[in-house]
């Protein structure tokens, strides 16, 4: 077991013990699972680079020196072969993709193993902390591992075998790799997309260029939209249009929708007529409708056909055709009349007429339907795909269950965000810190502290601290109610669709929320007047009581203000929703509490005496 870091820089000695130079690199043959070291590169006097065959000349090697079997004059130099990779130049310190762990990592060291006295093979790349420590100093690694063991937490080596490495920075496409070598090409497109997102933008484009067309198309569909559009910008137009053709039309339409108008037009123009037409048709529908997420790749047959015809038709499909869930039947006028499941095709005789085995009571959607409704229908009726038909009943395409799932997930995330839970990507949600969670939940607490600090700071000179603290004891009421007013708005927004005729009108909502504000405000006022009549009699603490009263009056007025403002929040939510923009309920809460804090401070200051704010 030996590491590249221990070999680099060692002296190379010939048979007579004369020093030829210092080791600078090792070349490996790439065709094997554990590649053999085939050449030795070293720098001679005057930094001249040399390369010799490892097999022919190296007699022995170790941590101190490499000894050749012949004298210097008998050594013949060689060149780097096309299937060779240099360890230090191409792999060490570079970013590689761990195709099994599916992460992008940096190589800290390379682990080699001596299979015989002269043969050396590459075991894998070390990507863990130990590689870093060893490269800094082997002693440091020993100390660290010992300390690790003392604490019962040994530091493991993290080795990635050659067969699970993909050298993203060096194009290996013309190097013959071993059969078992797993590169990005062999990975699931969703995983490739994940990896691409971890890379720097430039490298993203380069990795992408190494994939074949189909792999590209699939990975592109899985990428986040903004990143996908960015990569599209890097591809040549011919490549981009080829890739769009290979994508499912609905995914392609999504992507084209992200591009600038000029770019999109140019790409569509150089695509195949048929593919471009399919994409254009989908692009014609508004964002968020069934038309936008449907695919035109559906199999339709005349009613009169037999099972044998259907099977024949399915055999003739291209491999890249959207997965077939149902066959759709059309009558003589081209109207959708029924659907046949694949099961039905298998269990019935080839001669059976399709019309006899078809389901005729179909759930369909119009292309202008809201995509959320379509997704809900698919979920409700347990369908794998839902046909989309035009006004005359002609089949336009289908919405498949995977797209429906995406829609539901998206809507769910949007609703959550409006409800104030923040963006919960499945990956980032669970990891969020408990402190953050607390902050999100109990935002008023933070505002309260800041508010007290500011008011204490501003009024510092003119009003005793006790008065300010007493006044601000009512501040939480104002803040919490402001937060509640936002939850009230978001709840109302999520429950009532603005397009729905039954839902209360804006005016109704405004009256209702102002009413609520007045009631809440009145309750707080009642408490104030209660204080006023009971405690005010005591003359000694009159000033303190006045501060307290000022606080509560501030809270009452700020509460009313919060609820009076809530129709405006609703209007903002609806406006942004119509324009398909995302709104965060969290930000709304922040704004509402900020306003509440300001109102409170103003009212409290005017009651305790003007001139406090103006120091």
């Amino acid at each position: 077991m030996i590491y590249l870091s221990q070999l680099l820089g060692n002296p190379v000695l010939d048979a007579s013990g004369e020093k030829l130079g210092a080791v600078s690199d090792l070349g490996i043959a790439t065709g094997e699972v554990f590649p053999r070291v085939t050449s030795l590169a070293f720098t001679g006097p005057g930094k001249t680079p040399f390369m010799i065959s490892w097999r022919k000349y190296v007699e022995s090697f170790g941590e101190d020196e490499i000894r050749l079997g012949v004298v210097a004059t008998d050594v013949r130099f060689s060149y780097l072969q096309p299937d060779e990779v240099l360890l230090a130049r191409d792999i060490l310190n570079k970013q590689i993709v761990d195709t099994r762990g599916m992460r992008v990592v940096r190589v800290n060291d390379l682990k080699l193993s001596d299979t015989s006295s002269t043969q050396l093979r590459l075991l894998g790349a070390e990507v863990g902390a130990r590689g870093i420590l060893r490269s800094i100093s082997p002693a440091l690694e020993r100390i660290a591992t010992r300390i690790g063991r003392v604490f019962g937490k040994p530091i493991p080596e993290r080795i990635i075998a050659w067969s699970y490495m993909d050298l993203v920075e060096r194009d290996l496409s013309n190097v013959k790799l071993s059969v078992s070598h797993k590169t990005l090409d062999d990975m699931h497109p969703a995983d490739v997309a994940d990896i691409i997102e971890q890379l720097d933008p430039r490298l993203r484009g380069r990795v992408f260029a190494q994939l074949d067309d189909e792999q590209r198309a699939d990975a592109m569909a899985e990428l986040e939209e903004d990143k996908a559009a960015e990569i599209m910008g890097d591809l040549s137009e011919a490549e981009a249009s080829r890739m769009l053709s290979a994508m499912d039309p609905d995914d392609a339409a999504d992507l084209v929708g992200e591009l600038s108008y000029e770019k999109a037009e140019k790409l569509l123009r150089i695509m195949g007529v048929e593919d471009a037409a399919a994409i254009r048709q989908l692009l014609g529908y508004r964002d968020g409708t069934a038309g936008r997420i449907m695919t035109s790749e559906a199999v339709s047959l005349p009613e009169a056909g037999s099972v044998a015809d259907a099977v024949e038709r399915l055999r003739g499909l291209e491999e890249s055709f959207e997965t077939v869930r149902y066959l759709y039947l059309v009558d003589e006028d081209g109207r959708l009349s029924g659907a046949v499941t694949l099961n039905a095709l298998l269990v019935n005789e080839p001669s059976a007429r399709l019309a006899d085995i078809a389901a005729v009571d179909l759930v369909t959607a119009s292309p202008e339907d809201d995509q959320e409704d379509v997704a809900e229908s698919i979920s409700k009726y347990n369908l794998l795909a839902l046909p989309v038909v035009d006004d005359e009943g002609k089949l336009l395409g289908i919405v498949t269950v995977d797209d429906a799932l995406d829609v539901l997930e998206e809507e769910h995330a949007e609703d959550l965000q409006i409800a104030g839970a923040g963006r919960s990507n499945s990956s980032t949600g669970e990891g969020s810190h408990s402190l953050l969670w607390l902050l999100r939940r109990e935002l008023w607490f933070f505002f309260w502290i800041v508010g007290v600090a500011i008011m204490a700071g501003v009024s510092g000179g003119s009003v005793p601290l006790v008065n300010t603290l007493l006044a601000s004891s009512a501040l939480p009421i104002a803040l919490i109610l402001a937060d509640d007013s936002v939850s009230y708005v978001t709840n109302f927004f999520l429950e009532n669709d603005s397009d729905d005729e039954d839902s209360p009108s804006m005016l109704g909502f405004a009256i209702k929320s102002i009413g609520l504000g007045v009631i809440f405000g009145a309750i707080v006022f009642l408490i104030v007047s209660g204080f006023n009549s009971v405690v005010f009699a005591d003359a000694d603490g009159a000033e303190l009581v006045r501060a307290l009263l000022a606080g509560f009056s501030g809270a009452a007025i700020s509460t009313i203000a919060s609820f009076v403002l809530s129709p405006i929040y609703l209007a903002i939510l609806r406006y942004r929703d119509r324009r398909n923009e995302e709104t965060s309920g969290y930000v709304l809460s922040l704004v509402a509490m900020g306003i509440a804090l300001a109102t409170f401070a103003l009212v409290a200051a005017t009651i305790t005496g003007p001139g406090i704010i103006l120091v």
Partner: protein, 418 residues
């Protein structure tokens, strides 16, 4: 603007838009450069030595352009961050050294930003034990979530308050002839403070973190070689604006404070330079500007540091990664914020002293990173035809050697002074 020249492919319609699109990073760096450390250094320079250090401003401006342009060029050509390049060119051992230098320098700068926030809010009567925990918490949240970009513009607007130095400088009615003379003709004194101020001046103007910020901005935008003219415009405008502000800070403090014999020992003293303009409101104006610029820089710094270190060692990074995915990234940010805030909150600590010392440390460590930069930027294998020319290399070496000479002189004079 001369943006489109030599760009046959660029259509004139797009040129202005692309210039504006490229704008920003340089401006951010410039205005965030007028942060706590910058204001402290320039105010001190003006108060102690009057106009004597005005000559540094054009020199620093030029050197700042050299450093920032090289960083942007490296980003455009390689598409990689500075840390990545150091690691791939110089291996583990040297990149560990470079990252250590960056970590120390950035932590001290963050520390000085916190000192800036504490002393700025101190002007409003908010004590440090109240302002620092709240500010630290907010900065930590913003740095962790990466959402400081959303408030970046607001803070930039606030820190534009320092533009008032320009007005104040004009209102004071200084001896323009003397100022111009001092700008063009260098003057030296044997005061050790003069040289420690020089080192601090270099450290705050050409801060290592700005180099990393400039390059990572270019990489994130995936700017190419053909975008270089636009990046250069951005770099130069940013540097010129930053230098103009620092020139006026030295001018104003030199005219107002040096004339009155005031030593800058705290924010109140530095704020007094704005009195000719704002009268009694000088402290409010100064405090708001200082707080804004310091807050902005303090939000950016921990993220830049953690990003560079994780980039060099190949650990996962980015604000969209969770604690379990990118533990080192998050630990680094947290540690930098906690350490900086922890030191500033120590009772009776000399806040202005911290700001000054941090800039000196920054200046001391700058040559380390610049040497790496020269090594990469002049390598034809990496940079191709965009490699550093001889003049550019010589200029960068100038910064390195100048800082080393200043440092040595500073220590010698300090030793003699004892």
């Amino acid at each position: 603007m001369a943006g489109g020249k030599g760009e046959p492919t660029a259509r004139p319609k797009l040129t202005l838009r692309r210039v504006l699109a490229a704008m920003g990073p340089g401006m951010v760096a410039a205005l965030a450069g007028a942060d706590a450390g910058g204001v402290a250094t320039y105010s001190n320079a003006g108060a102690l030595f009057g106009f004597a250090q005005l000559w540094t401003v054009p020199v620093m401006c030029f050197l700042l352009i050299v450093a920032q342009e090289t960083a942007a060029r490296m980003g455009c050509v390689t598409g990689k961050g500075f840390a990545s390049l150091i690691r791939e060119q110089f291996g583990v051992r040297l990149s560990a050294l470079a990252m250590l230098a960056l970590l120390v320098s950035n932590t001290t700068v963050t520390l000085s930003e916190f000192a800036g926030i504490a002393s700025a809010l101190g002007l409003f009567g908010v004590p440090a034990y109240l302002s620092i925990p709240i500010a630290a918490f907010a900065i930590w949240l913003l740095a962790m979530s990466g959402s400081y970009r959303r408030i970046e513009k607001i803070l930039l607007a606030i820190s534009c308050i320092f533009v008032t130095y320009v007005i104040a400088g004009v209102l004071v009615g200084p001896d323009w002839g003397a100022a111009l003379h001092a700008t063009l003709i260098p003057r030296f004194t044997e005061d050790p403070r003069y040289f420690s101020l020089l080192v601090a001046n270099v450290g705050t103007t050409i801060a290592p973190w700005m180099i990393f910020l400039a390059q990572s901005n270019v990489v994130e935008k995936n700017a190419r070689e053909e975008d270089l003219p636009y990046q250069r415009i951005d770099t130069v405008t940013g540097a010129v604006v930053a230098s103009a502000i620092s020139w006026f800070i030295i001018l104003t403090t030199g005219a107002v404070l040096h004339g009155a014999g005031v030593n800058v020992e705290g924010a109140e003293d530095a704020a007094r330079a704005l009195a000719p303009l704002a009268g009694d409101y000088a402290e409010i104006l100064f405090g708001a500007g200082l707080a804004g610029a310091s807050f902005l820089a303090a939000c950016v710094l921990p993220g830049i540091t953690a990003n560079a270190i994780c980039e060099a060692f190949g650990w996962e990074r980015g604000s969209d990664r969770t604690w379990s995915e990118a533990p080192t990234y998050r630990i680094l940010i947290t540690a930098i914020v906690v350490i900086s805030a922890g030191i500033v909150i120590i009772p009776d600590v000399d806040l202005f002293g911290i700001m000054m010392i941090a800039q000196v440390i920054n200046g001391l460590l700058l040559p380390v990173l610049l040497v790496f930069m020269i090594g990469i930027a002049s390598d034809k294998h990496i940079m191709g035809v965009y490699a550093n020319g001889r003049i550019w290399n010589a200029l960068t070496w100038c910064i390195v050697i100048a800082v080393i000479i200043f440092t040595v002189l500073m220590f010698i004079l300090q030793a003699m002074g004892l």
